[in-house]
């Protein structure tokens, strides 16, 4: 139990003792305390493993409230089809959109700033049609919404970031696990490159530090790492099915360091092999030691 959780629990216990209807809150807090750090769900249906993983976390209603404006940030970086595993799996995105609406979200926005032509990326990834069919707003990013924001990190002092991310009530990050030439792997922390405006290609000069800086700035409500298919070589855009491995897995959590540390194991690596995981851990962004986490594995 970390400090924040302890204070919350203590405060709620106090509230529970003083108020008659505080009993509910007490139960809720106890449930939060019992919540796993990571849920790893495995199964053939992307929709079902997403649902099961979120249920294991306490259910979508724990995170999304009625009337919320929710931003879902998948990886739609490349002009590739779902089988090629360069973009987040469209079924995973669709499952999350559906759950958000079921929880009463007023609006669900899905976007990314692609590297290839945005139209082709949105269409060929299958994400635009899947999310739109469920009522999500799938718009191309609007150049005017990038606002220069203070980051005051190790590598990034300030950068134009997409304001929708900060104006939303809830943010759900849905990256895909892939090989990457410099970062070695692109997992949850690298997903935030997709909300950077300006000449983001420069951050490769201090990539690990920059990714940590971004993750300290952007705190999603929930992160769902898509490992239904992973790309093991020639990433991050791949193209050859020989480099794609089907794992039928999603990993749900809150701590980006923990998620990426676990994500490394999918590729036979350790969290400590990744610069941004190590730096993130050192800066207190999260936990990288898997033995110190409560990891719940479920099979659907």
């Amino acid at each position: 139990m970390d400090r924040r959780r302890f204070i919350k629990l203590a405060a709620l216990t106090g509230a529970g003792l003083s108020l008659p209807d505080g009993l509910n809150a007490l139960a809720e807090a106890a449930e939060t305390a019992a919540r796993p750090d990571l849920v790893v769900a495995h199964g053939a249906s992307p929709e079902k493993i997403v649902m099961a993983a979120l249920d294991a976390m306490g259910g979508i209603r724990k995170f999304i409230s009625r009337g919320d404006i929710v931003v879902i940030k998948p990886n739609i970086g490349w002009d590739r089809t779902p089988e090629q595993a360069a973009n987040t799996n469209p079924e995973v995105v669709a499952a999350v959109v559906k759950l958000c609406f079921e929880a009463g979200a007023k609006k669900v926005k899905v976007f990314d700033r692609p590297v290839n032509d945005p139209r082709r990326c949105y269409v060929q990834s299958g994400i635009a049609s899947a999310a739109k069919a469920l009522g999500a707003d799938v718009d191309y990013m609007d150049e005017r919404k990038f606002k220069d924001m203070a980051i005051n990190g190790q590598a990034l002092k300030s950068w134009p970031l997409y304001s929708d991310i900060f104006e939303a009530d809830k943010v759900i990050s849905i990256p895909i696990a892939k090989h990457h030439g410099l970062a070695k792997l692109t997992l949850s922390m690298k997903n935030w490159m997709g909300v950077m405006g300006g000449s983001r290609r420069q951050i490769h000069q201090k990539l690990d530090e920059s990714l940590v800086d971004l993750s300290l700035k952007i705190k999603p409500t929930l992160t769902i790492l898509d490992a239904v298919r992973i790309l093991t070589a020639n990433g991050p855009q791949g193209g050859s099915l020989a480099d794609v491995k089907k794992l039928d897995t999603v990993i749900v959590g809150f701590d980006p360091v923990a998620i990426d540390s676990y994500g490394a194991t999918l590729f036979g690596m350790k969290g400590s092999d990744l610069g941004y995981v190590t730096i993130g851990y050192k800066l207190g962004l999260g936990q990288m030691d898997l033995t110190k986490m409560k990891i719940k594995k479920i099979q659907v």
Binding site: D79, Y122, V123, Q205, N234, S240
Partner: protein, 510 residues
Amino acid sequence: MRRIVQSLFLLLFLFLFIQTESKGNDELGYPVRLFLDFDPLILISTLLSAHAAAKAFTLSIITIIITVLFGRVFCGWACPLGTLNNMVGSIRKKAAAHRGRDWYRIKYTILIAMLASALFTLQPVGIMDPLSLLIRSFSIGVYPTFNYGIRSAFDTLYASNPLGAAALSEPIFTFLKKTVLSFEQSFYNQNILIGTIFFIILGLNLVEKRFWCKYLCPLGALLGLLSRFSLLRRSVSEDCTECGACGTVCPGNAAPDQKGKWKDTECLYCWNCDDICPQNAVSFDFSGKKATAAMDLGRRRVITSALSGIAVVPFLRITPLTRANSKNPGLIRPPGSLEEREFLKRCVKCGECMKVCTTNGLQPTLLEAGAEGIWSPLLVPRIGYCEYRCTLCGQVCPTGAIKKLTLEEKAKVKIGLAMIDKGRCLPWAHATPCIMCEEVCPTPKKAIWFEKVQVRDRAGRLLTLQQPRVDLELCIGCGICETKCPVLGRPAIYVSSVGESRSKENQLLL
């Protein structure tokens, strides 16, 4: 009635023009080059220059048949440039003081010169063919200007938000973006030149209405020649009082007021003379007898224009660019382009490929391909790269100068090769990590690979860096590495046409 038909054709033209844009699918979904397919001038000149024509041009036979049946109705009723000329001409209320100039022969000499040069393998018609000209002018000049203007206006409203006007303007902007605006603002070389020529053509209507159609248009000339055989004819009955009313309304200088000297080749079949005739003496029907002026271009004029058309061919080709060892390495043609000689025999510089290019990388040349290749497409990777899985330029090319490729074929076509400038590259020259070119390289097995090296920085610290190398066998020259290279100004990795698969000579590797 004629105005309605003209408007419909113009709207269809504009609709197809706006649809000449990627929606993210592999195919466009609309026959965007339809107007060009119906253009018999391109059909004939391509047959002469390349001895082959794209299949779609069979549609232009319909235009020929219609012209033979009904005369130059295409000019009067369908041609979108003709309609625009009409619209601009209507600003000029005053009828011509004199009954127009006697310059109508100019367009025939232009046509003869162009077709004569086409017979000797040149393809010059695109410069003046009204449909190529219109699409090119719209793609490069008019439409980007329109977009820039609208976008700046709405951006200003959005940013300054006077009296909360943005709340009103933003929904309108969203609507415009979904309907008439392009996906992104595009930018083109030659925009001023191509745009200015177009505005001059429109402006000539103020000198004389339909100046272009009467005196310059080579397609009008071709259809004029065909309408010599037209079955639909104009006849004037005995009731004619020679009041001359028809002469003032004729948009084609066809001399309808001069009995027996009506020029059938110049008639646009607009029926203005029929409408205005106070005696109702004018009629158009199939039974009319020939009451037309003889077409006299003058033998000398015909021979001179044909000879100059022929002479211009070697004249344009005495450029070193046509020599194997002095090819312009910057001339990167779109994927699927034919070998340069064959390419130039077909390309009509309509600009469809540049309009549809998803990255704005396809730009019109000026002299990069010689004067002969002016305004033909050229990939400028610093502006935009060739999207790996996009085949749209080949789909819209009306003449087959750019072949339509399948995705599998496209992946194998090299349009050039990338090379690294070690003196500028961050990991090579500046001991700074960067992997941009490798990250974006789209071939399934990346053409850019790394060599891990240990280098020392100024302070003597040992750094491990990945220095990029290009695998020339795998590189297809798409240029995304050059587009995305963070080294501003001259990029640290750049593409040239060397190694392009369409050329036998322009090769580097054994």
